[in-house]
Amino acid sequence: MGSLKDTPSTRPKVASVELAALAQRLEELKSVLRGRPSRGCVGLWSESVNHELAGGGLGRGLVHEWLGVEDAGPSPRSMGGVSRWTPAISLFIDLVFRCCDGAGPGRVAWVGRAVWPYPAALLGPADRGRRLSEERSLFVRAPRSSERLWATEVVLRSSAASVVVADGSGLDLAATRRLQLAAEAGLSVCLLARPGVEVSELSASATRWLVSRAVSAGASRRWTVELLRCKGVQPAARARSVWVLEQDRATRAVRVAADVLDRSRETAHEGGFAQRTG
């Protein structure tokens, strides 16, 4: 009967362009109020990815969650028999190099034993363009999650490091909110690695990505990366949210694989909606 229930057809259609402009203006006002210059962001692997993110890339002074790759099968002995995940360290190394490309010496802190990379990729031979010398990388071991949280917060607040890669397994909403506040106080990019099973946890991070492995035909390595959430951008407004990344064995450069199917989210979204109202 004539109910005043809000159905999608009666909602006013606000143009998405106006919303984006308003959001931008709000950000500018916020930064003016805080008295800090705008921070900029780090460009990712291709324009199609950058387009979907607020600000055109991974924003500095924000927390970005990367829900890592799950192992199928029983828990490994070397991890103590508890977790069964491996963080996407190759992608992190690529992101770290991108974050450190800017002006000034780039420094990175790796907090938590689970996200420590094998240093060959960092300290590679000097003739390679991408190389972080020994004193630019800090490896922090903190077995307890409270200590890990404290250490990540301290590094973020001091903003001496351009990028922080932290093991965020087991953090709840309050913890991620603390990290987000600490990140906003500084200028570093925070990459938080979490096991894939924690996708259902609430989190205060600015962007959320889910990484899984993909089989590759050649000798290059492939991952499927899905953008689950980006603050400031509506999920419906996104054209694409799944990409396949490829890393070349020789050059270790990561880029979007050329031959990938375009899966747009809108068809899936509308289909689901139709089911609900139907």
Partner: protein, 511 residues
């Protein structure tokens, strides 16, 4: 190294001449060469006794020098750093204070000691000279010593004289210096050249020329050199003063167990110490804090910093964190802070660090403070840096060193081969089905599960470190063949087959 000793009473002075910069050169198994890069060529700037004995001289090309050293001797090559040499010489001068309180540094490789009045203490000058040489040899230096009445004479005889150890009787300076070349008068190269043009090559010739014409033709420097050597002019040296560590103390009127009072007192002591450091232009690297208690032993703890700092706020954060854990017991009656290890820290550096604190390029100061804060709470062993080690075995190729240890080692070549991003702590055993026993892998049973391998690249053979003697430990008894394999789930694993035993292990993966 030269140590100059001079005695007022008989005008005795002594020069100890140096034979060369070098650490363990006297044993004959290790040769040390210091190099200087001139127009992209590496030339020898300094050498030790063993290298000298093999024929290496200053100014030689490094490759030539290496070829002269016999094969059984290990050659260690390092760049020549003037500041390090100066620091070392200063430290040596502070050591030499045990012979006489007036020790001066004579760069680049000498010391001057004034031993006026110390003959009784050392029971004679010859014993003193021998004691100096013995002490220097114990430290690893090869030294030439000369004792004479004037510094000039001792300098010349030690550097250019015949014998390593010599002693010039008072009044015999003239005949001791006559056979020496003109450089022993401490004149510039230009003057030496000018003298050579006229045919004056040794000091005897110089002394035969009249003083007035010497001054007129070659300048006052030559004349003063002659006068100083012969004792007609007094020469003074600038002695070094070994610095006392900065220390600030506060005693209470009576013991107190109020935490706030103890903290306030400690803050005041720290402020005073920072003031002392600022006056000396030094930063502290290790701070010892003693909390004095009545009728009990004092509680001592040290705060170690990765970089010299005199930032009061930062030091207070570190000290306070440790002070909170101190057991006050019956009360505290004083606080003492000593800056045990300090380093030179100029004024502008600390200001820059404070300025750049909020910006992206925060600078070394903020990074150092971050490291100190993390190490203070988590322990210095839990905050590390990855360093490349001299090994090609993957598990030994990198080691984690604590951040408090200084960087600046000899650079090590890192392999450019493809290495995984995660290396397991221990290689994990697996069962492999392959086409041939040492061939590409078809399927792998690992961690209790069988996976199919869709692609296998390799092998890469990594050999054993045969120079460590005997066989390697663990699986590396005769080398390993490494394969890179992709499973049907898209996972890339790094596995190896031990060549000696034929067992397969999974060593790492690409995350």
């Amino acid at each position: 190294m030269r140590v100059g000793l001079r005695s007022e009473r008989g005008e005795r002075g002594a020069w100890v001449g140096g034979g060369g910069e070098g650490g363990q050169g006297v044993r004959g198994r290790l040769a040390i060469i210091l190099t200087r890069t001139v127009a992209s060529r590496e030339l020898v700037a300094g050498r030790c006794e063993v290298a000298f004995a093999s024929g290496v001289r200053e100014g030689m090309d490094l490759a030539h020098a290496r070829s002269l050293v016999p094969a059984r001797v290990v050659v260690h090559v390092e760049p020549y750093r003037v500041d390090r040499v100066a620091d070392r010489l200063h430290a040596l001068a502070c050591w030499a204070v045990r012979f006489s309180p007036l020790v001066a540094v004579d760069p680049p490789d000498g010391l001057l000691i004034d031993v006026t009045g110390t003959e009784r203490l050392h029971k004679g000058e010859s014993r003193l000279v021998r004691a100096v040489v013995a002490g220097l040899n114990r430290l690893g230096f090869a030294a030439r010593v000369c004792a004479a009445s004037t510094f000039g004479c001792a300098w010349g005889v030690a550097r250019y004289g015949e014998y390593g150890l010599s002693r010039i009787a008072p009044g015999r300076e003239r005949e001791a210096m006559e056979p020496l070349p003109v450089e022993s008068l401490r004149v510039e190269a230009g003057t030496v050249r000018a003298l050579g043009e006229v045919g004056i090559t040794n000091v005897g010739h110089v002394l035969n020329v009249s003083r007035a014409s010497l001054a007129a033709r070659f300048g006052p420097e030559l004349l003063s050199g002659v006068r100083r050597a012969l004792g007609e002019e007094r020469e003074h040296i600038e002695p070094v003063r070994p610095a006392e560590p900065s220390r600030s103390v506060l005693h209470f009127d009576g013991p107190t167990d109020h935490v706030e009072s103890v903290e306030a007192a400690a803050a005041r002591v720290l402020e005073e110490l920072v003031g002392m450091l600022a006056a000396r232009e030094r930063g502290v690297r290790r701070l010892d804090v003693e909390v004095l208690r009545p009728r009990a032993a004092a509680v001592v703890f040290s705060v170690v910093l990765s970089r010299p700092s005199r930032n009061g706020k930062h030091l207070w954060t570190l000290v306070r964190a440790r002070l909170e854990r101190v057991d006050l017991g019956e009360g505290v009656e004083g606080v003492v802070m000593t800056a045990v290890r300090t380093a030179r820290l100029r004024h502008e550096q600390s200001e820059c660090a404070a300025l750049g604190a909020g910006e992206q390029g925060a600078g070394e100061g903020a990074w150092g403070e971050l490291i100190d804060t993390l190490a203070g709470r988590l322990g210095a062993d839990n905050v590390t840096r990855a360093c490349a080690a001299e090994s090609h075995l993957p598990e030994r190729a990198f080691c984690q060193r604590s951040v408090m240890e200084p960087v600046g080692r000899v650079p090590v070549r890192v392999t450019s081969a493809d290495r995984p991003t995660v290396l397991f702590d221990q290689p994990e055993r697996g069962e492999v089905m392959a086409l041939t026993p040492d061939g590409p892998v078809l399927s792998l049973k690992w961690r209790g599960e069988r996976v199919r391998v869709v692609r296998c690249l390799g092998p890469e053979r990594i050999g054993v470190e045969w120079w460590r003697g005997g066989v390697g430990d663990g699986p590396a008894r005769a080398g390993r063949d490494y394969f890179t394999a992709q499973t049907d789930g898209g996972r890339w694993l790094w596995l190896f087959r031990s060549v000696g035993t034929g067992e397969w292990f999974v060593h790492g993966e690409w995350g």
